[in-house]
Symmetry: C3
Subunit: 675 residues, 3 copies
Amino acid sequence: MTENASPETPPAARLHLGAAYYPEHWPEERWPEDIRLMQEAGFTVARMGEFAWSTFEPAEGEFHFDWLDRAIALLAEAGIVSVLGTPTAAPPAWLTHAYPDTLAVDEHGRRAQHGNRCHYCVNSTEYHAATHRIVGALAEHFGPNPHVIGWQIDNEFNRTCYCDHCRARFQAYLAERFGTLEALNEHWTTAYWSQTYSAWEQVPIPIGYHNPGLMLAFRQFVTESYCQFQRLQIDILRPHLQPGVWITHNFMQWFDGFDHYKVAEDLDLASWDWYVGMGHVDHLTCGAAHDLVRGYKRRNFWLMETQPGRVNWKPVNTALDRGEMRTMAWHAVGHGADAVLYWQWRSALNGQEQYHGVLIDQSGQPLPIYEEVQQIGYDFENAAPILAGSKPAPAEIAILNDYDSRWAIKGQRHHEDFDYVEHLLHYYRPIALRNKPVDIIPTDAPFDQYRLIIAPALHIIDEELAERLKEFVANTRRLVITLRSGVKDEYNAMLPTRPPGPLAKIAGIEVEDYYALQDEIPVKGRRVSGTARIWAERLKPLNNITTSIASYGPYNGWLDDQSVATVNMHRQGVIYYVGAYLDDRAQQSLMDMVTGQLRIEPVMQTPLGVEACKRVNAEGEDIIILINHTAKEQSVTLPWPAHEHLLELSIEGTVRMAPYGVLVLTKRPEGPTDA
Amino acid sequence: MTENASPETPPAARLHLGAAYYPEHWPEERWPEDIRLMQEAGFTVARMGEFAWSTFEPAEGEFHFDWLDRAIALLAEAGIVSVLGTPTAAPPAWLTHAYPDTLAVDEHGRRAQHGNRCHYCVNSTEYHAATHRIVGALAEHFGPNPHVIGWQIDNEFNRTCYCDHCRARFQAYLAERFGTLEALNEHWTTAYWSQTYSAWEQVPIPIGYHNPGLMLAFRQFVTESYCQFQRLQIDILRPHLQPGVWITHNFMQWFDGFDHYKVAEDLDLASWDWYVGMGHVDHLTCGAAHDLVRGYKRRNFWLMETQPGRVNWKPVNTALDRGEMRTMAWHAVGHGADAVLYWQWRSALNGQEQYHGVLIDQSGQPLPIYEEVQQIGYDFENAAPILAGSKPAPAEIAILNDYDSRWAIKGQRHHEDFDYVEHLLHYYRPIALRNKPVDIIPTDAPFDQYRLIIAPALHIIDEELAERLKEFVANTRRLVITLRSGVKDEYNAMLPTRPPGPLAKIAGIEVEDYYALQDEIPVKGRRVSGTARIWAERLKPLNNITTSIASYGPYNGWLDDQSVATVNMHRQGVIYYVGAYLDDRAQQSLMDMVTGQLRIEPVMQTPLGVEACKRVNAEGEDIIILINHTAKEQSVTLPWPAHEHLLELSIEGTVRMAPYGVLVLTKRPEGPTDA
Amino acid sequence: MTENASPETPPAARLHLGAAYYPEHWPEERWPEDIRLMQEAGFTVARMGEFAWSTFEPAEGEFHFDWLDRAIALLAEAGIVSVLGTPTAAPPAWLTHAYPDTLAVDEHGRRAQHGNRCHYCVNSTEYHAATHRIVGALAEHFGPNPHVIGWQIDNEFNRTCYCDHCRARFQAYLAERFGTLEALNEHWTTAYWSQTYSAWEQVPIPIGYHNPGLMLAFRQFVTESYCQFQRLQIDILRPHLQPGVWITHNFMQWFDGFDHYKVAEDLDLASWDWYVGMGHVDHLTCGAAHDLVRGYKRRNFWLMETQPGRVNWKPVNTALDRGEMRTMAWHAVGHGADAVLYWQWRSALNGQEQYHGVLIDQSGQPLPIYEEVQQIGYDFENAAPILAGSKPAPAEIAILNDYDSRWAIKGQRHHEDFDYVEHLLHYYRPIALRNKPVDIIPTDAPFDQYRLIIAPALHIIDEELAERLKEFVANTRRLVITLRSGVKDEYNAMLPTRPPGPLAKIAGIEVEDYYALQDEIPVKGRRVSGTARIWAERLKPLNNITTSIASYGPYNGWLDDQSVATVNMHRQGVIYYVGAYLDDRAQQSLMDMVTGQLRIEPVMQTPLGVEACKRVNAEGEDIIILINHTAKEQSVTLPWPAHEHLLELSIEGTVRMAPYGVLVLTKRPEGPTDA
């Protein structure tokens, strides 16, 4: 954390609606018309400036901010606040031309070309200097502006640089982390293949598959590089900001170029950019993405960019159905978003994203989808009073998400279809399908609020984490440990124990061997039956009370009749170990069993394709957001007589939801209905 | 055009048959035997010299032309004329070794290796100097030779170079074209992503996806580079050539590395290299390729290379069926070819193309296919009198083909299956299937001769072209405008209007939005029904008389019940707008409707797989070339009692055509038959 | 051959069992436990040292060998002998850092990174010097050690380097081979595409597809480079070795980076590394790999590495079935292996191969598969007496394998599915299926012992080989020549004759043309019927006695009714020519016909999936190794009452073999059974 840390909770008094807006692309005469159209869509916020470096600073040290002053003021007159981005994701041509080392080098050794995004070297000394200058000038100029409610640092960090300077910095990072080459050589077992390093300068940046210790350390170094680059900016900005003005970065959900928890640490607010791309919303998977981002700071977040109709970077850039943008907006809110901003308002007439979805077309007229955004504007206005200050209802279930484990597995999948995130979602989806709230959290988050923790493929584990999990699981709480957990240490070295290593004792089993599967294996159990695919482990019970939940059918001689999954008791707690990747139906049975045994209640029961999310407002009132994610009508039975806040209706019993329909409900106080 | 421009029409007095011949690969003793075999195959022309630079000039400035003098003379004695190529497609090793900058650099920054083709940098000053020297020497030496009837410049231009010299030349080209950086920055909207250029040297050669304005300009620059390189050679050659000796370049049909219309401008004659590759001839697609090349100069062309049986560069180098080479030869003639040359006569014993199809095998004996070529020789001899001076019958239909539009779409397909040429062929094929002649022409060609113009995906359009199309369509003529037309300007910037931009008013619609489709949408109309795929637009009528031809069925809420295609009147003209990519059957109905309404007549009616082409000779006599493109017998009913010129027969009524059979027919004068 | 050549036959007194063992990865306290577990598994050999350079020589010229002295001694105490590897496959970091030119350059021009294997430039002068130093020190130190029974040079040679130094060496190699540039230009027909070289320095290392002469010469140069690098080491080692101590290299079966026959020439013993990878053993294909390696030196070989359960480098790293490792061990022995070593004993805790199969897990405990290896240990002990000094029974059939032909075809497949090795196996498999022993030998091996030689796709052929084959086939022996044979000379130039060139006369046919096939062609004959695919040739008989075995059905007009395969007589010999790639069933009929006509007897008859191999021991006794390669029980009828040596049983008649069962049988002396 920087010294000028932010307030614990950013203001969430209202739901914001808005878009990314680039006034620098358009003649100033056009601005009033754009702002009029924003107003008519119910906009309350505009994001600006994050790609305007060449307009802000057309030549080294020459600054032009007046145009943005005028844009902010015009918006403010229309009741629209501004969020500003620091423009470091897109350096101007004069900068990269004068200082070519500011351009990143790819793994083939080629410098990036000017004219794209994030093509800078995150560790470049010259880039840091230029960043210092532009961010300093922006902070000084716009920091005092009362209409600027927040700042975004850079835009979608994503590049990995392989230049010589980064290599030297990486070597310095290793020297600081390991202290001695002996330590590094030991943790990475460099005696293997004569890798032994006798000088720090010998250590390469890994390209392609390499020593797992080196690969993991490099990813940790990239994380540290982005943390430093972001902190450099935050430290400049903070002293100039008004109280309550927050700093964020717009992340890309499951992107794995760096540890998002670490990079989010110095921020006040997490935000992210949600693009469906090709096809349609799968709300179980997308809900996980929202919950992931909510977990970065473990509070409400912003949807800083989302898709107006379509994108331009997929093989087929299909459009969302009529109504789907609205369900997406409410889905985000249901999972904790306090703002929904489209990217972008209107496309520049030229540039790489001409074909991206927008709200206003090249002729300056609203596109057909503009009307749907207007409806969202009305929605947000209508729901504002009830949702003021609300947050998602606290979850009783947490899923642990760990970048080190993910990177370790990604480098050595062992089965090409083994994907860490897919495997995590394999646990998330059956729970979300039942409308049971889930938090996705890092391993160092507090565990107190939960009754069930799921640790999917928690590959890398240390004693401290093992201790915290052991402590958690006592006292009637439950822990699900899955395959590939407890295998390695933080240097990506194998633990000299059988998995799940320090958790073996509480799990009551150890893994004798594991098997990557080309075919499916039959799985048979009283409550969980079906098949296993991709991965299967051979479990050896370590005590007499560990019970088998299901066992493998005949397969390869090694697995036949062995346990697939087990359950053990530990100090009134219950620990499940799941050693195979089950088929979807078996997985649903398993997770229904686990959550059912704990009596974890759903927000409400809904038919397939209808989701119920719950927020709780400052008054402690429950608000259920009910979303029909399908293109067909659905019937839903309400748990109680309700007030619906979008249409201001009283409803009860079984109601019909329109295709892509949304209801925002609170429980009607007992007494005569208003019908 | 160069100052020494060619005669308007090159001599087409006879159909030529021949092959590429490389005497420099063989001992001189062998030449007479080769020439005897050529004679026996009915050859009238040989192409030579285009890869002989190292034989012509084994060391800098040391020339050896006598061997080719002797080869030309020997051929001439056998009644075979010569076409010579300038050898610049394959520089000698001493040249690339002494001047490494003459080698092109690929987009990964690597110089080409010696030993392939077209590996030179088209803008290299040193390469220009070497070209000047060798072409000058060749021109001086062979220009006066009466047996050399034409020259080919280089061979299949195709390389794009990314070297620093090309980059500097590109920057100079931009400076000349735009005048000021302000203009460039505005046309490319470089404010977007801080791309703004403050010095010409900052502009990169685009690698991968980049600013659309930059990408299009670079392709236009490559075109200009090839024009200049070719003009350099033409300017050297021309003064040494006898009257009537023409200059050509052998193009590769739809290759899109440069604008073929611009590069063809300085030539007298267009020629091309037709390779089927894997599989068999699809005559509808191949006919379009012939028509394309005929449109480069809008006159008869040469087939400079074609496939003897098979090629060597496909995944599976299948052979043509027995008879298929003969139908190919006549297919070419039917579409306007005046010569058919095989590549090549006999393979060198070593070198990259050992496995390519030839007529004479490595042992010096004719291959089985040699007999079929002999038959073509007899055919051409028999048909020579009737075809002398003939040209394809004038077409009433033109399809516009535009490289700028094609490049713009290729850079931003938006749907991976959207291919500009495929889309153009989607309009060509249903017309060709009916044996209705079509011209494929550039947008600046004269429109007077046509009654119907089709503008498929005419993405880039300027006011002048819009005016010419408006003028054309008046007076009962008809225009078909299709999806993605009228979207951009010549800088690849979006027009600030709804598509089809300047044509919207005459089309009577504007495009509100467009949709890339993963699935098919139902399409319903009285005369056109089926489905749309890949692309669908939402059309908004601009007046009361625009009529819908068909409408979309239920789909995504945005398109449901909207018009798929419309028809509008404009000053006695009729304009169709087609907003979707129809399935093949619906497209056939649409094009039958359009051409039927205009009463455009077919050459004659034929069963599927049989094609009828018409040429008209100097006497104004119609010659129908009837080709059975299938491996089975076909029945055809003749429109009139006919004389068949290959077998010198009189035929009438319904005739049976053999598999891969060909008939060359003229109408028999009325009176008693010769039966 | 080096001057200090090895004894003709290495000692094969016993079957060895062992593993690769890396004591340098583990604390010395652990070693006794490892060695105890090895002993309990029946190990007799350990391979060590081949990746220990950085441990041997942690800084330039500073050597540490004592640790390995102690490991060898501890093993010896446990009755386990040692094989040492020279560590040149993995240079230490200080070396590659101090001398960067020792690192290989890939075809994209990038230097390899430190930290993998075989990343050295095989021609680097500095690398040769470092190799000289380390191998010299090792030889001096360990050469006298009586427990070291053999040496392995480097490890799995496989890299091709494209650096400037290699290029210069390649040019020098060409200069020496061709003498003059005129000769090179002629053999490569460089007149083609102006490739003519006027100085040796102009010749490139070919990258991608290039002149076939150049491509073949470069591969021959790589072979020569590895021969020299290996000879450098052998010449240092040999003077220090005790009599009977052998030198080997562990090859990778069909890997084609160099000519394995040439590289094996200087070795005493061939060995190889057998990895099944994904899926299961296909014993017909794997048997060919063993026979291939046996053919390198034409004697028994070692299986230097094989798979303990699974590997870590496949898309899906599946495990072998229970029992399959045991059948693999016996399969190897059946085909001539005298030792089976697993790679590796136990995985280092870090490093690229953490996930590779091992026998001891990261916790130091045996994995489930350890028990199966123990059983192999018992097996080998039980079978030791009977197998002492045995070799595979002499084969009557040989298949010719030629790297030049393979490279020539690989560079110009003409059909993407035409693979030289697949085609060779297409002839091997139907013979092996009948348990008829086959040798796979180079073209310069003696032919005397055989009755049938098969020359599959013997693309490159010279007069000497042609003469030897003609001589062989006289006197009732038989020769099968297949498609694509006799096409080229040793410079990859086409022979100026029709194929099969110098063999055409004895084959009684010549090839008029060849056809790459996308579809199947019907094939009809009295004894061989079915279809041809991939490749079909049109054969022209050259005499009256050549008989057609089968003919093509209707296809493309060129092949219809032509001969598919023929048989001709030549001086009491019989020559078959097979011009098409037959389907598997037709191929089985063909090979059954050919071997049946020669009355070549099987080892014994077995059901599908059960293999019978025969070894003959020093006493001339036949030992049949019977292997059930399937996961199901099988019934086998014995040819005679037998003694089974693994369980010490007498058995006769029809016996049931367990899934993955193995029997080692000798004929029981006549007389009363022991039942």
